[in-house]
């Protein structure tokens, strides 16, 4: 349970002051001073150590991630150059009823299918094929591939959407699926 005791306060202080030094370095020293950079990140890492010391590494790491993000947002907010709100300019733009071209719709559908179906099959088969090859404990390997599968799928989706020619990822993913299924089912 989070209770405000000395270590707790120390962890938050180290986190805040670490991010503060990083912010100071960014704002006024234009990221030129190595000392400020090292001390800033050092304090942030110290906060991680204190969090883990206090709550164990599982809770500590999570608390550290949250407090680091919140500290950074706090300094971003402090830095925000508030100006008088301008009226929305959206009304200045012309209103158009947009119809997508057939080619664009076709390309979007094809991309969607490659991302959602071909990538899914390729990544799932590849992860399971990898499982059959991995040395070590069965339980650990199964959990490893259960995490690897979504991660690979995310990378494949990124690749498919980033490329201009859909053919390259499509054929590569089909090849991966075929090779993996050979290993799995034969």
């Amino acid at each position: 349970m989070i209770e405000f005791n000395d270590l707790n306060v120390l962890a938050i202080m180290a986190n805040m002051s670490g991010v503060c030094v990083i912010y100071w370095d960014w704002k006024y020293l234009k990221r030129a001073q190595r000392l400020s950079k090292i001390s800033g990140w050092g304090l942030v890492l110290l906060a991680l150590y204190v969090w883990c010391l206090r709550d164990g590494w599982e809770f500590g790491l999570t608390f550290w991630l949250i407090t680091s993000a919140c500290s950074a947002w706090f300094f971003s907010l402090c830095d925000s150059q508030s100006q008088r709100q301008q009226p929305s300019k959206t009304t200045d733009k012309t209103y158009r009823f947009q119809i997508l071209s057939r080619a664009r719709v076709g390309h979007s559908l094809a991309t969607f299918l490659v991302v959602c179906v071909v990538s899914l099959i390729a990544c799932c088969f590849f992860s399971l094929a990898l499982f059959t090859l991995l040395p070590g404990d069965e339980s650990n390997n199964l959990v490893f591939i259960a995490f690897l599968f979504p991660l690979l799928w995310a990378l494949a989706s990124y690749w498919v959407c980033a490329t201009k020619r859909l053919r390259t990822p499509l054929f590569s993913l089909i090849f991966i699926s075929a090779a993996s299924s050979l290993l799995l089912f034969l």
């Binding site: 150059q81 301008q86 989706s157 990124y158 980033a162």
Partner: protein
């Protein structure tokens, strides 16, 4: 060696980021918003059913009476009966077999059943988007994958990540303001969002790996594959004997003195192979629980090894608490809620940037405003509807579709936003009004009282904000030479 990505890579990553973001924006927004709220589902459940007896102290005799009463109440005994024990977050006992469920009074008698009201609707919205269970779970899991893909593409597409580390320009220009907000909220929260995305994808998609893996490697035996990770059930062949919960809890305190029981399961009640499982949390551990097994007389059999077994097993059983933020008390819940809201804002600002960069407006602008501000309105409308006994999902759908129709007809984003914000303010106050009429003002449940206060403040705040924005908008429309007079 430079790690700076090439301009071509940045360009293609940005295109990938836009493509992925636009494809899943609305669903991502729904899942993020419902996820940020669902962190507090325990508080919402207590708010929704404030008349359930609450206590943290319980005796083994109470558990015994509750199980007896439950077995008498149901037509046929299920394979497992769950007795969920009180915690600080939910100081209520309920007993269930997965199909029937009742809260338990302090004397062991059964109280009313948990309602499938607004909180249930919210949980289902986050977990499976109200689609058929498994399909919805996989669908939401895919959104977890897309979140990871968005994070990866976003990081590669952001070469000024260090240069703009704290840059936040409010009010400068719509596109810049939205881009800064999007980048600052996302960059600093990246590790947390990545963890949420990956654990969400794991929870949603593990069934696919199990289905394909069992077919390919375990002769289609799903149980065998699951047992390989989590461990199997003990094989008990003895005849059923009277259950001794007192001895069970005493044995638990000897086996694991720091363990905090959260629920216990009676397997094969009054049948051959009857045994008791006690799920208990351990201090400073993210695992959902360790499962301790006892025979009917309370003697210790074994533990599942979720806390001290293989690393994979421990990791797999830690994803739930890590994803839902149910560890470390209420402060962690608040931070998880804030991080969830930040991710919701990131989803919204991503589309806002795209809309602001377009040279023209279209119905998409109006639909997006309606979805962004209509969803909280629909959620609050669903809460009021659930309070008066109406269907929360249907109310949600009607209000959301109504908001979209109104905004598309109005073709004025600013006015539509103001209208939806004001409606949301009124709707939040309406929830408090309905609640007060139904449950009264005197002797209100402390959690319900706090929630109603928060809802009232939010409601009034939104109404004041709408008025102030309206005035500012009107002032900004007056030419500068007139205002200077």
């Amino acid at each position: 060696m430079s790690v700076k990505p090439s301009a071509a890579l940045v360009k293609s990553s940005l295109s990938s980021h836009s493509w992925l973001g636009l494809s899943v924006a609305l669903l991502m927004y729904l899942v993020c918003l419902s996820g940020a709220l669902v962190v507090f589902f325990e508080e919402f459940e207590r708010w929704e059913q404030p008349n359930i007896p609450e206590y943290v102290d319980y005796s083994p005799e109470l558990i015994s009476r509750a199980v007896d009463n439950f077995s008498q109440r149901v037509d046929s005994l299920a394979q497992s009966i769950y007795v969920v024990l009180p915690t600080e977050a939910v100081p209520r006992i309920h007993v269930s077999d997965g199909e029937n469920e009742w809260f338990v009074n302090q004397d062991g008698s059964l109280n009313e059943s948990p309602v499938e009201g607004w909180t249930y609707f919210l949980k289902e919205l986050h977990i499976n988007l109200h689609l058929p269970k498994m399909l919805g779970l996989i669908f939401v899991g895919i959104l977890g994958v897309m979140l990871c893909a968005l994070i990866i593409s976003g990081l590669v597409a952001h070469p000024r990540i260090f240069k703009d580390a704290f840059k936040l320009r409010f009010g400068a220009n719509k596109a810049k303001e939205q881009a800064d907000l999007h980048n600052r909220l996302s960059v600093w929260g990246t590790p947390f969002y990545f963890m949420i995305g990956l654990t969400g994808a794991f929870i949603g998609l593990v069934s696919i790996i199990i289905a394909v893996g069992a077919f390919a490697l375990y002769e289609n035996d799903h149980e065998a594959m699951i047992a390989a990770v989590y461990g199997g059930d003990p094989v008990i062949t003895t005849e059923a004997a009277p259950l001794n919960f007192k001895a069970t809890l005493q044995s638990l305190s000897q086996v694991a003195p720091t363990a905090q029981p959260i629920y216990l399961v009676v397997h094969n009640l009054k049948k051959t192979g009857q045994f008791i499982e006690v799920a208990a949390t351990l201090p400073q551990r993210l695992i959902y629980s360790e499962m301790y097994r006892f025979s009917s007389d309370g003697s210790f059999i074994n533990q599942q090894g979720l806390s001290d077994g293989k690393a994979g097993r421990q990791i797999a059983y830690s994803v739930y608490r890590l994803h839902f933020g149910h560890f470390g008390g209420f402060a962690v819940k608040i931070f998880y809620g804030l991080m969830g809201l930040a991710l919701t804002v990131i989803s919204v600002t991503g589309i806002n940037i795209w809309l602001a960069k377009r040279k023209h407006r279209s119905y998409l602008n109006d639909v997006w405003v309606a979805c962004v501000w209509g969803t909280p309105l629909a959620l609050s409308g669903a809460a009021s509807a659930a309070l008066v006994g109406q269907s929360a999902p249907i109310s949600f759908l009607i209000i959301l579709l109504g908001s979209i129709s109104c905004c598309v007809i109005a073709k004025n984003e600013h006015r539509a936003r103001q209208m939806l914000l004001a409606s949301l303010g009124f709707s939040l106050l309406a929830i408090v009004g309905c609640y007060t009429v139904i449950h009264g003002t005197s002797d209100q449940h402390p959690v319900a009282f706090m929630l109603n206060i928060i809802l009232s403040i939010l409601g009034f705040g939104l109404l004041l904000m709408t008025l102030s924005r309206r005035r500012k908008y009107r002032e900004s429309l007056i030419p500068p030479e007139i205002t200077s007079l």
